[in-house]
Structure formats: C-alpha cells, structure tokens
Amino acid sequence: MEQKKIFSVSEINKYVKMLFDSDDLLNNINIKGEITNFKAHYTGHYYFTLKDEASTIKCVMFKGYAQYVKFKPADGMKVIINGQISVFERDGVYQIYCKSMSPDGLGDLYLAYEQLKEKLSKEGLFDDKNKKNIPFLPKRVGVITSRTGAVIRDIINVTTRRYPNVNLLIYPAAVQGVNVASTVIEGLKTFNKLNNVDVIIIARGGGSFEDLFGFNDENLAREIYASNIPVVSAVGHETDFTICDFVSDLRAPTPSAAAELVYPEYSEIVNRILKDKNRTIIAIKNYIERRRQYVERLKASKLEKVPLEKINRYRMTIDSLMSKSESVLRYKIERYRTRCVKSITKIDTLSPLKTLTRGYSVTENADGKIIKKVSDVNSNDEVKITLTDGKISAIVK
C-alpha cells in the first residue's frame, strides 16, 4: 500500500492559502451582509463578521482602506463589501480582506441623509455663527427623550452628581420609529412656547443608522434651528452623527456627556466664588495699606509745607480783594441813597396833598370824577369834597 504523505499544519494552511489566492473569483469579490461583532481597533483597522440568515464570515479591513469608508460601520448595518478572500495561516481560517464598504439597503436612506446634510449645510443651518451659547448655570433644563430607559436615568444621575439642586423638566418623546421627528418637534415647540427652560437637551441612546434615522429629519432640523432656546443634541454614541447633531447649538457625544455639558460642578463654582471673594478682600486691604503708607510718607516729607504756604498766600490775596470790593460797594450804595433822598423831596413838593394843606380842596362827583368847571355839575348833584384831614359830602344848590 502506498504510504500517504503526512503534512504539518503550517504546510497545509499554506497550501490552502495558495489555492484561495489562485482563484480569480476569490481575489476580487463583492459580498453583501450584515455587520456584527464590529471592532474598530486603535491601530485604525476594522475587525468584524459579516452574516446573513444562515452563515457568517470573518472580515478585516486595514487602516489604509478603512480610512476611506465614508460612514461609521456598526453592528446591524447592512453593507456591501469588496475585497479578497484569503486564508489567515496562523489560525487556519479564511476571511475577507476588505478594500471598500458601502451601505446596502440603507443605500437610499444614507443617500437621503447625505443630501439633506449638504442642502442644510449650504443654507447655513450648521454655521457656527448661528449657534447660541449654552448658559453656564441653567435655571432649568428641558429634556426631550423617552420617559423610560437608561437615557433619562443617566442624565438624572450625572446631573445630580455634579449639581445637587438640578431642575429638570422632561418632555416625553418617541425616540424610535416613525414618530421621532414629530414628537421631538412638538417638544421643542412646547418648551419655546412655555419659555420655562433655558437650555434643551434632545437625548437618545445608541443604535443603528436606521434606529437613529428619525433624527435626520428636515423639519426637525429647521425646528431646532428656529428654537430661541439653545439646544444640545445627544443622539446615539460618539460615533453616531445625525442631522440633529449638526444643526444643534452643541453636540454631546452621549446623553451623559450632555448632562455634564449643561451642569457645572457645584464645588467648582463654590470654590471660584470663594477664591474671587478672598482676592477682593485681600486686594482692598493691600490697597488701603498702600494708601496709608503713602499718606504717612507725604506727612513726613518737607513737601507737606509747600502747598500750605501757597494756600496761605492765596488766602491773603482773597482777603484783600474782599475788603477792596466791600468799600467800593459801600461807596456806591451811599451815592444811590443821596440820589433817592433828593428825588423824594422833589416829589413831595409836587404832591396834591401839599396843596390841600394850604386850604385848597378837591371836589368829585358821584362817579369820582374831579369837578373843574361849573358846567361839570347840575343842581341837586351829590358831590364829595376832599380836605386836608378827610372828606365831606355836599348837595349842589
């Protein structure tokens, strides 16, 4: 009987690899399937498994190719891969050495996403200049998310750990399915109408591209853009990007990170206030001490006497000017007084009263008109006669 050749493991793996590599089909092949066990190694290589309903196949994509993949591959994503199937001799397994990867099935969705992103970007909805500032310490935070699940619990846990007296107002929204955009839009509208929060977090946990697709909605993007209240987007994990992330005022990689971004650490603020208060107190003490010393030095120096002498000189000048102006005034007053007395004497001589003392009298009719001629009166008219010491009434005969 012919003795069969016995091979070592290495030899047989090498042989199988040779067979694979000489096959034209396996050298350049397109395969579609769903990604599972995806790992992005820190070296930049991707390791994952591709599966369909019945089977799986191992895949590797080296950094040189991985860097050209336009999206972030993730478990559950359906993709089409181009590459070469070969054998990894050490483990005796065959796998796909991927050269390119594109979304399958999602194709249309992905395209829609890319197109919407480009359209809104051109319109300026993502521009930094339109982004509102997130308040440093919000009085109240609105959270639009599912009322159940880990996301809201994470947000509550992280915020209260940082800042004990949080004030959160939750708007329960659908974060999966066809109602995502409409309920999140409703939440944004509600908060803007109530105007009772000063920052809004839109939060959702991680998921596939399809799971998060509700956040790639044009109306939602426009509502976020229109919001008067700053919006923080925390949709999916760090590697997931949605239109919601781009248009929001701030993107948080995860819901927990959003919680950290909106609430500062309580102890840090307390320390900051105390530090600045102490700085103020020490500064004023030093300031006053410096001033005091300055005054002391000034007192001690001869300089002190110079301004006093100057002041005294001015004082004397002022005094002499004062007495000068006083005597001028007094002279003027005297002159006015003399003129006044002269005028009074003149007026006195012309006064009718003076005439009356000499025996003349003044006669008026009932209307108070002075009677100068006989024709001014009729018989029986009553007249008044003014004498030097009073008046008498009389009837004309």
């Binding site: 310490l137 007296n165 004030n167 107002l169 603020i269 206030i273 600045d276 103020t280 500064a283």
Partner: protein
C-alpha cells in the same frame, strides 16, 4: 427667561473686580465702591447657588389636552 444679569456674568464681574483691585490703579472712592460691589456679588452668587431646589418634573397631558407638570418617577 428674564433678561437680568446671568449667573455667569456676575461670576465674571466678581473676577474682574478682584483683578482690577489687585492692579491698584483705582482711585480711593472707586476702589471702595468696587470692593463693596464685589462683596455684594459674591453674596448674591452664593445665595443663587443655594436658593435652587432639586426638582425633576415631567410634562404630561391632562384630560383636556392641557399640559401640566408632574413629579417624575423613573420607571424601571
């Protein structure tokens, strides 16, 4: 929200006051005024921090469709 000075602006102002007092370039009256302002601000900031009360509410629709706030209890 009301258009009053924000907490952050007050914090910043306090810091600026400390810095300008440290520079020592102010006149005496001004320095005293700034000092008083700084102490007032630090008090205000501390009060603001402690006046808040922990509150976690959820908006729910009432029977007539109107929105009301209820205390949020996490559903496991």
């Amino acid at each position: 929200m009301k258009e009053e000075k924000t907490f952050e602006e007050n914090l910043k102002e306090l810091e600026d006051i400390a810095t300008s007092l440290e520079s020592g370039n102010l006149g005496l009256d001004e320095a005293i005024k700034e000092f008083e302002k700084g102490i007032k601000l630090s008090k205000e900031c501390s009060n603001k921090l402690d006046e808040a009360e922990k509150k976690i509410n959820i908006l729910v629709q009432g029977e007539n469709g109107e929105l009301k706030e209820e205390n949020f209890v996490s559903e496991e």
